[in-house]
């Protein structure tokens, strides 16, 4: 992973040195050629290609923006209805993510999607306590989180 990025960068600088073109366009051309070489050397890397990791990060951002827009409309509807027809509550969500980084990222994403707020992470770091604005269907909330965010985060970190 790190070795791949470093070799790609050094190939880009090598290309700039060969052509004597030290501008931004020279760097971009060199970087693309370096990426082609990194792909050609695929059998020699132990780790998977780092470009797939970049793609996974972009997908996570896309999923996040989609969830953000959809759930904000739901919350705006709750706020504007004349009587508060909501049933708030706190539910425990068991996560399969292991490292501190993954759990932090997941809880930040949950905090940012309207309608859910992370209140507490348990000592062992595998249960999140989430305050939901409308808890009519806990399993639905949990499934949604599991299918969208957790999957995408796993693709990024593993």
């Amino acid at each position: 992973m790190k070795a791949q990025i470093l070799s790609n960068l050094s190939l880009a600088f090598l290309w700039m040195a060969f052509t004597g073109n030290w501008s931004g366009s020279g760097f971009i051309i060199g970087y693309l050629i370096g990426a082609a070489f990194v792909m050609l050397l695929r059998p020699f890397w132990s780790a998977p290609l780092y470009l797939s990791r970049v793609w996974a990060v972009l997908r996570l951002i896309g999923i996040f923006i989609k969830e953000l827009i959809v759930s904000s409309f739901a919350v705006i509807r709750y706020i504007l209805t004349p009587r508060l027809a909501i049933q708030p509550g706190i539910f425990a969500y068991h996560t399969e993510l292991k490292s501190d980084w993954e759990v932090t990222l997941l809880s930040c994403l949950i905090c940012l999607t309207p309608g859910t707020l992370t209140l507490e992470v348990s000592e062992d770091g595998d249960t999140l306590y989430i305050h939901a604005m409308n808890i009519e269907d806990v399993s639905l909330h949990a499934e949604q989180i599991r299918n969208s965010f957790e999957k995408a985060i796993k693709e990024v970190t593993r």
Partner: protein
């Protein structure tokens, strides 16, 4: 070129207006909602989304009409995005730990159950 600048004007105006409306809605939520946790929902999300829309509108305006690529605005967007969920989480956690009650119509509370378990173990 005139068509492009016309379209981008509309997009920028809509972005800034949407951001203002979202901030206004979150202010309404702050007034209306009954307990700390629900108000914290409104404050965290409304501020984030509203500020995000307004800043991206300003960024596009500078880029398309004044030819300035403002990296400061992009960094501002990133920082708001990183810090606001943590602030919301810490407010909620501190309130819960110091015993602020939930709204009486709340349905379930798994955290109380597990915290009591912890205390009884000790």
């Amino acid at each position: 070129m005139a068509v492009i600048s016309g379209i981008s004007e509309w997009v920028i105006a809509l972005l800034v207006l949407l951001g203002a409306v979202l901030s206004f809605l979150s202010a309404i939520g702050l007034v209306r909602l009954p307990d700390i946790y629900l108000r914290s929902h409104a404050a965290t999300k409304g501020a984030t989304l509203g500020v995000l829309c307004i800043l991206s509108g300003a960024f596009l305006y500078l880029m398309l009409f004044l030819d300035i690529l403002s990296v400061k605005l992009l960094l501002g967007i990133v920082f708001v995005f990183i810090t606001s969920p943590v602030a919301g989480h810490l407010n909620g956690r501190a309130a819960y730990r110091s015993g602020v009650p939930l709204w009486e119509k709340s349905v379930q509370d798994d955290l109380r159950r597990d915290l009591n378990k912890e205390i009884s173990k000790e």
